[in-house]
Amino acid sequence: MIANVRPLIEAAAITFGYSREQPVLNGWSGSVAGGEIVAIVGPSGSGKSTLLYILGTLVRPWSGTLWIGDHDVARVGDRGRSDVRSAAIGFVFQDALLDPRRSVFDNVVEGAVYRGDSRAEAGVQARALLERFGVDVESSRRATDLSGGQAQRIALARALLDSPPIVLADEPTGNLDHINAKLVETALFEHARSGAAIVMATHDEVLAARCDRTFRLS
């Protein structure tokens, strides 16, 4: 495990809600270092997904500070936050969030397009990731009519493309059978061991217990 002096993610006193009356997060603080895998647990509606969106710079907290690497992302503008997402963060959404009109391959390499990376190079990696995760559908096939497990593994391949230093995964094993869940779990742990900071929201207490640490929301 590569231990960084400073954590890759460092949040302090984060407050955020969807309406003024009901803050979902109230002064949340936490940090994740490179090489660490951390679980967010808590009952449904406790704000696990919301916290991941904040850490993923998709939403700006009402107050508090959030450092992603050397970026004070609660302060930088939209462009800076897009750069952070593009360069540093791989996201696995709760419902995969694939584009059903595009091919499996296009879905996996999409992030490379915005980074300006070569599609050919990204493609080589994409095929390797799809194979590693046992995605047994043609990569030229449209990403529609997939099983939950297939969609989630494709989403994982997309998130891990080009080895992001941070991976945020929202119930990545939620809809999966035991074998697939294990495969996804292994991939995330391996990615953490390579030095990345992983934050994963989960309802699975056993999985959470295997993580390095746990953030508990209520």
Partner: protein, 386 residues
């Protein structure tokens, strides 16, 4: 490239253009409905604009030809003083000028009575004339032949011709009658068209060149462009006595009408083109906006995957550009060809090209606002839409 895991420094990605341009083409292909509608608009606009204005130019041509037929192409020469009659030979000389279609010289008007084989004599006015291209018919000439009033042939002096119209009015069926006083025989009828149709009110008596002193000459030229050069040459051809005593009337009122028609058609075309473009822009804006609303989750996903607002804007704008280019190319060529087949020749290609470029610009401009709205939507809100 992603930033290095082992350092805390997150560098900005390269965000290269070619990758984005290629992606925009894939976006255009994926968004079939929106691209299809944009392409259809892009197809229809140049057909409408090039088609309508092209045919308007043709309609304008028809109006102008009508004006020209009325007499925009005519020059009238009037001898200003009684003593300075124009020699009839001037008609022959003017007829030789380049660009002259026909010339008619008119002598004095005189009142006579037409004595038909039956019935009361009718008062008529007669003109001595030379050179008029009229259609003769009657006993001494095969029906429907074009001829000139001149010595010899149907226009021989010493005979008179009644217009077909007058002949009907006074009840002269065959031929024909006698003009009193003088006893000139009416030997047939004539029909005069266009600017000469006014002659149909008169009995025409062809004048022999030397005997006839003209008071008025009407010259028709092939094209309005000939009016000035021909008119300028006329004083030299009417003889020294008449040269300073004539007034030359160019059909300036008609020429002004001609210009007015041109301006009016151009103005109507401008209004129409602007209206078509405005409607197309509004429709495209609605279609593209609806498309971006329908693709909300798409935009949310792209944002989550690191696309900037600028990149999303470019994707929407370029995603509009490709179908717009395709549709416009086809529409412009079709519109051009349509006008070509209707008019009988292919009009200047620069106009359709300009319309095509304008169409693409308008459609792309229509995408700018929806693109900006889509790009600045809160990514979280759109991702959380189930």
């Amino acid at each position: 490239m992603r930033s290095d895991v082992s350092t805390l420094v997150i560098g900005a990605p390269r965000r290269s253009w070619p990758a984005l341009v290629a992606e925009s083409a894939r976006v255009a292909v994926t968004a079939r409905v929106v691209s299809g509608l944009v392409a259809v608009l892009a197809l229809v606009v140049p057909i409408a604009v090039v088609g309508v204005t092209g045919l308007n130019i043709e309609a304008q041509g028809a109006i102008l030809r009508q004006i020209d037929a009325i007499g925009a192409r005519t020059i009238t020469i009037v001898s200003a003083s009684v003593g300075a009659a124009i020699p009839a030979a001037a008609v022959e000389r003017i007829a030789q000028l380049d660009g002259v279609s026909w010339v008619v010289g008119l002598g004095n008007v005189f009142d006579v009575r037409l004595r038909a084989p039956v019935g009361e004599p009718t008062p008529v006015r007669a003109y001595r004339a030379v050179g008029a291209p009229v259609i003769f018919g009657g006993a001494s000439y095969p029906d429907g032949g074009q001829g000139l009033l001149a010595a010899g042939g149907p226009g021989d002096a010493g005979r008179a011709y009644l217009s077909a119209e007058s002949a009907r009015r006074v009840g002269l069926a065959g031929s024909y009658g006698i003009l009193d006083p003088g006893g000139l025989p009416v030997v047939g009828w004539f029909r005069a068209q266009g600017p000469l149709s006014a002659l149909e009110a008169f009995v025409l008596v062809p004048g022999t060149d030397d005997a006839l002193a003209l008071e008025r000459i009407i010259v028709a030229v092939d094209d309005v462009g000939w009016v000035d050069p021909v008119a300028d040459n006329i004083p030299a051809l009417v003889g020294s006595a008449a040269a300073n005593a004539i007034t030359i009337e160019r059909s300036s009122v008609l020429l002004q009408a001609r210009e007015a028609v041109k301006d009016e058609v151009a103005r109507r075309d401008r209004t129409l083109v602007l209206a078509i473009l405005a409607v197309a822009m509004a429709l495209a804006g609605v279609v593209i906006f609806a498309g971006t609303v329908g693709a909300r989750r798409d935009f949310g996903r792209r944002r989550a995957l690191g696309a900037t607002q600028g990149q999303l804007t470019v994707l929407v704008v370029l995603g509009t550009l490709w179908p717009a280019l395709g549709g416009t190319a086809v529409g412009t060529i079709l519109g051009w060809g349509y006008v070509g087949t209707r008019v009988g020749y292919l009009p200047d290609w620069r106009f359709p090209l300009a319309v095509g470029i304008l169409t693409v610009l308008v459609l792309v401009a229509a995408s700018a606002l929806p693109a900006a709205v889509a790009a600045t939507r809160d990514p979280l809100r759109v991702i959380r839409v189930p």
